[in-house]
Each structure stands twice: as structure tokens, then as C-alpha cells.
């Protein structure tokens, strides 16, 4: 009977986890959704940024599409671990841009972009940790039993 008690505990834990995961999931979806919209609808700031990176317009559409895809993945619980990995990758890319040609302040925004970037990066790291057992390549190593 110990087994069934453990099973019960595990299912409770999973339910609790799934609920908590919605906080970072919605956060990422909201911010990245806005960013994707900005890029795909050619807002002036985004065009400016990608001109600086010499990736205008192909790079802007590419990143915008990737961001939209990430939002889509993040909102499906089964795929949100994959979404989190993609979000981390995109944010690392953004960080490289800010460390390089872009600088920390974009068109005198007082660092708004970098704050958003930080929020998404931290949220996706938290989400990746919550859903670590379904991460690509390393998920298996976190699965202690078939219950998790």
C-alpha cells in the first residue's frame, strides 16, 4: 500500500506543478507574443534594431516567426518544455545583440528591452526547471520513475 500512497503523492505533485507552470508560461507568452507582433508588423523600433544588426528585413521576420512559434509551443503543456528551450535560445541571441552592436539602451528607452529580456529569460529558466523531465536531450536524466 506504500506504493499507492506514493503514487497519490506523485499525482498531486504533478497537478500542483502544472498549475504553477502557468505563471511563467503566460508571462513568456505575453511578452514574446508582443515582441513577435512588433517584428512581424515592421514596427519602427524593430526595424531600427535589425538595421543595426544588419539583418533587416530577413532576420527580423525569421526571429519574429521563431518567437511566434515559441508562444505557440509554450501554451501547450505537453510541448512547453520545448518552448522554454527555444525561448532561452532566442533570449541568449538577444543578449548577444545587446552586448554587441545594439548597446543596453535602444533609442533612449531606459533599458526597457533589457528588462523584458531578463524577465523572459528568468521565466523560461524557471519553466524549464519545472518541466525538466520533458526537456530535449536531458529530460530523461530527470525522470526518476514513470510516474513523473
Amino acid at each position: 500500500m506504500i506504493k499507492s500512497y506514493q503514487k497519490e503523492k506523485a499525482t498531486m505533485k504533478t497537478k500542483y506543478k502544472n498549475l504553477i507552470a502557468w505563471i511563467p508560461q503566460l508571462m513568456i507568452a505575453f511578452i514574446l507574443g508582443g515582441a513577435a507582433y512588433g517584428k512581424l508588423s515592421s514596427q519602427a523600433t524593430d526595424v531600427f534594431i535589425f538595421q543595426k544588426l544588419q539583418m533587416e528585413p530577413a532576420g527580423r521576420f525569421l526571429i519574429g516567426t521563431l518567437e511566434a512559434l515559441t508562444v505557440f509551443l509554450i501554451l501547450i503543456p505537453r510541448l512547453s518544455a520545448l518552448g522554454a528551450s527555444l525561448a532561452i535560445a532566442i533570449m541568449l541571441g538577444a543578449l548577444l545583440a545587446h552586448l554587441g552592436p545594439l548597446g543596453f539602451e535602444v533609442q533612449g528607452d531606459g533599458g526597457k528591452h533589457i528588462v523584458m529580456l531578463g524577465l523572459v529569460l528568468i521565466s523560461s529558466l524557471i519553466l524549464a526547471w519545472i518541466r525538466r523531465s520533458s526537456l530535449p536531450l536531458i529530460g530523461r536524466l530527470f525522470r526518476r520513475s514513470h510516474l513523473e
Binding site: 499507492s4 539583418m55 528551450s85 535560445a89 541568449l92 548577444l96 545583440a97 552592436p101 536531450l137 536531458i138
Partner: protein, 497 residues
Amino acid sequence: MDSQLTVNLGKIAKFTNASLPILTLSFLVAGYQYSFYFHFLTVAFFLLTLINFFYRHVQSTHSLLTNFGLIAQGRYLIESIGPELRQYLFTNDVEEEPFNRTERSEVYRKAKGLDATSAFGSQLQFDGSEYKLRHSLYPLDKEALQKFNLHFGEERSLKTGFTLTRPFLISAMSYGALGNHAVRALARGAKKTGLPMNTGEGGYPKYHLMENCDLIFQMGTAKFGVRHEDGSLDPHKLENLSKLPQVKMIEIKLSQGAKPGKGGLLPKEKITEEISQLRGVPMGQDVVSPPHHLECTDAESTVKFIARVQEISGLPVGIKLCFGRESEFFHLVEKMKQLSIHPDYISIDGAEGGTGAAPKSFMDDLGVPLFQALPKVHKILQDLGLRNKLKLLAAGKLINAGSQLMALSLGAQACYTARGFMLALGCIQAMQCNKNTCPVGITTHNSHLQKGLGIENKSERVKNYILGLEDDHYELLSALGKRTFSDLKESDLLFPL
């Protein structure tokens, strides 16, 4: 001497581990110097470097990943498609188990109604380790053969007796082990040809009944469908079930060849409302199938339980068991004789029998194989004078007429096969019956996977297989120079050296 061209996987792994951070740095520089697009690679390789670091220095569950890093994933990746590669490309036609490709394709061809001849000669190696049938110098014409007939219940002069007109039956496959499409396709094929089908121990046979074929209701050790909450027999439920016009016989399963002496556990997650109703078990808690019937603890109680089921159902009642200890079986039959109670048939399930799920050691290491068990059972029944009081059935890997005739030569009067019929349904031996992922939709409840199993279409294949198998039986019988199946003797068989 070592050849000059060798692949040293260890060195390749070391090289990979060293290159990952170097490549990351190179792409970082290139991203700032040449084109920002290089940073796609910077990010990707940075993450791979992190993962590689994690494999080698953080995790400790997989030695290969610790020692060789990312490249060791190749092993797991390729290994995971090993079963498919072996079956598609690398295994020869006669080396797979439980059924090799020649055996499977024989069933497929029958099921599709195609020409079943092979070319150039047997692929088997006749090294004295095989059973073979001895043909006659004077084969009989087909017109001289007698039609097969087996009357169950005649020994007790039952009015409700059942007559079997082919030397084989569809063995126990429950709804639960199989999905509803597969059950219905089998049952419809059975109905088309008038062959009876065993329901398996899945409780009330809702889907089997839909197609109106003749049924043998199997009562497992948990008595699903006819049980009280404590697992004992509910006589009213059994009586009501026996009154169904489709139910022709009852079979008490004492043990199963694939897992003799083992019960099972139906986890509560699998108990849907439907399963709970059909099996007569409560929802929300695990249900344990005990290793034996509550009522059967020794020879006497077992024999009395058989009598009780015979009385309640009013139908022919058989028992199914896997032969284990000879002395125990002897005592059981002795007790039957002493109390003048005997089942209407005994079905011997060989250790090579199939199952949806069983521990490996139970499948591999327990129970007597069919061809060794049958002659012993036949002899014990003969010695105690009970051989003509009951019928003897055989089960266990008998998917073609040849092996079924061998079982008949060893004393059986009819044969059960389940996996033969699964192959007829289109089983590709993916060996995933316990995972709910059966790629051809037979042993799964996933509606997406069951979509490919058209009930009408597959029931035709079941019908073709039944007719083809019957045809083979008579062909072989005439080659053996026997007029009836009951003329087959042990002497018609060549035994392994």
C-alpha cells in the same frame, strides 16, 4: 596487426568534447566580426556545450554520458530503433521469436487469400531437433476424409452441449488486452465462419457479443464479470451470463502458459467507467488478480468448484491450465475420478503461450512446453480411465495446421490459437502489447491507432485465415493417410533426437 583504418569512438568523443567550446567561441567572434547571423550557431553550440558539461560533470546515472559526453547519445538513439532495423533489414527469415518471418507471412498470405506456396525448398535446418509429421506412402483422397466433429458435453449428456466443427478455436483475448476494433473484427470473422471464440478474462464480453458469434466465456482468477467484491464467484451473475444465447461454454482459467502461477494487477488508472462496469470492479482502487481462484486451494476444492460452475451455468465447463508438477496434476485427476466429477474439457496451455504482459522470468523460466506436457496429460488421463470422460485441448504457438496436427497427434482433440488470429488481423509483431502503443491498433485503446483497423475489412482476413487453416488441415490429413483427426497417434510424429 591493427589495420591503419580504425574508428576509435573514444577518440572521436574526446575530439567532440574539445571542439564544442572552441566552435562556440569561433562562432561568437564570427557573429560580431562578419555577420550577426553566426550567432544562431553561437547560441546553439553554447547550449550544446552546456548540455555536454552537464552530461560529463553533473549527472551520474549514465556512465556512458559521463565518460564520453554528447556523442554517447548516438548509442541510445540508434539503439532505440534497433528492433525496427533488425526486423526490416538484418534478421533472416527464420530467426525471430516468437514467430519468424516465414511463419508470419504464411498467416498473412492465408489471411489475404493469396497463394501460400513457397519456393526452392525449406529454410529450416533439419538437424534432429524438430518435431515432424510422418506422412503415409498411401495418401487418401480428399473425398475419403471424414468431417471434423467434436461434441462438448456429450459425456454428461448435456442438452446444452456444443459441437465444434473445426479442429481449432480462437483462443482467449479479452477486451482490455485488445481494443474494441480488434475484438469486434475477430468476433465478426468468427461469426462469418461459425467458429467459436474465447472471451478471455476481461469480464462481461460486451464487444464480443456485438457480433453474435459463439462464445466461450473465460473466468480468470479474479472472475471479472462474475465476481463478488471480495473476488469470490457471484452465482447470479454467472447464471445470467450463461443464459445468453451466444455463450456456449464456460472456461475456468487455473493458470496461463505465459505466466503460470501468477495473478496480476489492474491499476486504478486503467479502470475507466466502462472497464469498471464490464469487469465488476470498483473505480478508484487497484484490483488484484490473485494467483489462484479463492475457491481452489487443493485438488478437492478445485474439483468441487468445477462441479459448482457446471451446476450454475448448465453449460459445458472446461479448465485451462499450464502443466507444471506432474504429481499435482495426477492428484487432481485422481480426485476427479474419486468424486465422479470431471470438467467437460481440459485445455493445456504450453509455456510458450502468449500474453499481453508478464514478467520475463515467468515467460521464459516457468511451465512445461506444450509438446512435452501433452503426452503426459494424455497418459495420466488414460491411466486413470478418464480419457474418454473429457476432451483435451491444446494451446501455445499453434498458428499453422502443421503444428496443430502435431498437437492432435500427441493427444489433443482441438487447438486454441490467439496469436495466429492476431497475425491474421495484421499484427506485425512489434511486441508492444503492454504499452497501449500497438502500431496496428490491435492491443491498444488509442482511437487514433485503432483507426487503421477497419472492422469489416479485417474480419474478412480472419475469415480467410480460418478457411485457409481448415483447408490445410484436410490436405495434411490426407497426406498422413488418416480418415479422421482422431486417428492421429503419437507414432505419426517424428520426435527430436
